[in-house]
């Protein structure tokens, strides 16, 4: 690791620290018992095996959407439809296990396959619109998220609804649930799938020709075009792969042990969380599990804090926002970086003089 890289890492840790400090100050303002709240936020996840399990379990959707966004953003395709793709993936998985009546082993596999397909088709819409009509994918994907949300609610209320519960589907069959792998927690097979996806995402982006083309286009589209890279293919492939991962993530999340029924009425926001994951992982899918661990820890701590004290969960969104701001602010601490580089240069000059 060279000095510039080490500095980037330190800068990121410092940004996280500053964001946490600002959040703590906020807690002091809004809470009657700020010290208890902060203590609960930090130590809560360690209080029981179940809580620790929750940390690991809530990493799973974050790894999926984070990896998807890493791939799309690496190609500089600012497609924010991951949120809607994830939602749609969950709906499709629920639909398959409720309506298809497939045998136990096959049911979740078909459900996940179709969830990924739906996610892929959904997230490719902005790409197709960009290629065919040159619409900016940013705006079209934002609209699609709302369309996905209402479409899924429509299907839920008119095809899957259990009238005795109201706004939720019938109970998902037990035989299609993803098995728990650590007893006494909610950690399920989805974790393994998520980690495999993160590694495959890394291999795709950094070890294949298509991945190289994606990253080159992301760095400099004009250069990529002049070197003969098919930009249309890059646009389509990057968003489709991102969509596959988002849809799969939604399916895995729904078939995990937390949701006995499909009851998602509002977008879950994992698409937005993915942006902070992608920022912290520096667009490298291999680091998404680490970034997801951090965010999941913060989330779990905050939800325990919300349960036992008067500080609500929303504080985390503020922390997240500040972290994104500071980590992507290129000039944050740049003065220090310049001084460090200058010092190094002087040192090496001196060495040369001595020699």
């Amino acid at each position: 690791m060279n000095n510039a890289k080490r500095f980037d890492l330190l800068r990121m840790l410092f940004a996280i620290l500053v964001a946490l400090l600002i959040s703590f100050v906020l807690i002091f303002f809004i809470s009657e018992e700020p010290l208890t709240a902060i203590f609960t936020l930090i130590t809560g996840p360690f209080r029981s095996k179940r809580n620790l399990g929750n940390v690991v379990e809530s990493m799973i959707p974050l790894i999926f959407t984070g990896t998807g966004v890493c791939i799309m953003f690496s190609a500089n395709q600012i497609n924010l439809a991951t949120d809607g793709g994830f939602h749609l993936g969950g709906l499709v998985a629920a639909f398959v296990v409720l309506k298809f009546g497939l045998p136990g082993g096959l049911s979740p596999i078909v459900a996940l396959f179709l969830a990924a397909t739906a996610g892929a088709m959904f997230c490719t819409i902005p790409a197709l619109m960009k290629v065919k009509t040159s619409s900016p994918e940013l705006v079209s994907s934002l609209m699609l998220n709302y369309i996905s949300q209402w479409f899924c609610t429509f299907i839920l209320m008119h095809f899957l609804q259990d009238p005795s519960v109201g706004s939720a589907s019938h109970k998902l069959p037990e035989n299609s649930a993803l098995p728990v792998i650590v007893g006494g927690t909610n950690i399920h097979v989805g974790l393994i799938i998520a980690l495999v996806v993160a590694v495959l995402g890394y291999v795709f982006l950094y070890k294949t020709k298509t991945g190289y083309e994606l990253r080159l286009t992301g760095e400099n589209e004009a250069f990529a075009r002049y070197s003969g890279i098919n930009i249309v293919k890059v646009i389509l492939v990057s968003q489709m792969v991102g969509g596959i991962i988002a849809g799969l993530g939604g399916g895995v999340e729904l078939l995990g042990p937390i949701y006995p029924r499909f009851s998602w009425m509002a977008l879950l926001g994992y698409g937005w969380d993915a942006i902070i994951i992608c920022t912290l992982a520096k667009k490298n899918p291999l680091y998404t599990p680490l970034a997801a661990l951090f965010l999941a820890y913060l989330r779990t701590g905050a939800s325990i804090m919300a349960r036992y004290t008067d500080v609500t969960l929303e504080i985390v969104q503020i922390t997240q926002g500040i972290i994104i701001m500071l980590v992507v602010a290129e000039q944050f601490l740049s003065g220090m970086k310049h001084r460090m580089i200058a010092k190094e240069a002087r040192a090496s000059l001196k060495e040369e003089e001595v020699a």
């Binding site: 942006i275 929303e314 969104q317």
Partner: protein
């Protein structure tokens, strides 16, 4: 159905639904003309909707509430400008961060002020009044549409005219357009692009905050969680489709306002309301596609292909 579509009430509803989008679209147009995509509109509107309620309740009248809210909008615009221009933050990611902070921050703040997580019903706020224009309200049909609107709606229409004059008839407007068109060329004739972009983003924040204020003090009489519901994003599309000009943006906003009003009215029919809720977003998506496509064809024609 057709009868209610042609009634003055429906046109009234269109203007009401257009107002917040129109302010935000104007906000987006001035930022875009200066070369910056202001996706933080969504967060600015959300913050302003809450601050509008708080400030008007605190000061006891809507007007000071509106002015203070506009200051908040300007401050958020300045904050965005500081990060994007001084700290070289990616403008989209900075906006995502601001919107996240707005989503969580408004709920926290509302909880602290009113003790309620969902809506601000316990805060006695003041809304902008409806204005009846004498004489005009006597004209049949047209009078019923033009008169009796919320003050903010008239302000929005006024803002379109002012922004048009500002962008095309003043030296500062020319500088904003010059910076957006070609930053280096503008710099070469002595325009400080940073200063101009600061001004544009602050102005953009102020305009968006007026839209946010109307959401909770006119369109509705309280703040509810996530009440901007993507209007900031719709405004981005409206502005882009209007060629980022104030007049173009306002015409497209009217189209989306109509879609929203239609959706509101169709709630009364048998069509599932989930599908109706999609209408504004679907209209925006299709409109964006059609506009971008014709734009692309025109450019290709100009390029002689």
């Amino acid at each position: 159905m057709l009868e209610s579509l042609l009634s003055p009430e429906f046109f009234n509803a269109i203007l009401r639904a257009t107002t917040p989008i129109l302010f935000a679209a104007l906000a987006s147009s001035v930022a875009s003309k200066a070369g910056i995509t202001n996706m933080a509109l969504e967060g600015i509107m959300l913050f302003s909707a809450l601050f509008g309620v708080i400030f008007s309740a605190m000061t006891g009248n809507f007007f000071t509430g509106l002015l203070l809210t506009m200051v908040i909008g300007g401050l958020i615009g300045w904050f965005l400008a500081f990060f994007v221009l001084n700290l070289k933050t990616d403008e989209i990611l900075a906006a995502v961060a601001i919107n996240l902070i707005a989503t969580g921050g408004t709920v926290l703040l509302m909880l602290a002020v009113s003790g309620d997580r969902g809506s601000s019903t316990s805060i006695a706020s003041f809304s902008a009044p409806r204005i009846v224009i004498p004489l005009i309200d006597k004209i049949p049909f047209l009078g019923e549409i033009i008169s009796g609107q919320n003050l903010m709606t008239y302000l929005a229409i006024l803002a379109v005219i002012i922004m048009h004059l500002f962008m095309y008839k003043t030296p500062l407007g020319l500088k904003i357009r010059a910076v957006g068109e070609n930053k280096n060329a503008a710099e070469s004739v002595g325009i400080s692009s940073r200063k101009i972009q600061y001004i544009a983003l602050i102005l953009s924040g102020v305009l968006a905050s007026m839209g946010g204020f109307f959401m909770s003090g006119g369109y509705m009489n309280m703040f509810t969680k996530d009440m901007s519901a993507g209007r900031g994003y719709i405004a981005l599309a409206a502005s882009a489709m209007g060629g980022n000009t104030p007049i173009g943006a306002s015409l497209v906003s009217l189209l989306f306002g109509a879609a929203q009003a239609l959706a509101n009215m169709m709630q009364l029919t048998d069509i599932p309301h989930e599908l109706i809720q999609m209408i504004p977003y679907l209209t925006t998506l299709i409109g964006l596609g059609v506009y971008s496509y014709s734009n692309m064809k025109r450019r290709q024609k100009l390029a002689g292909k």
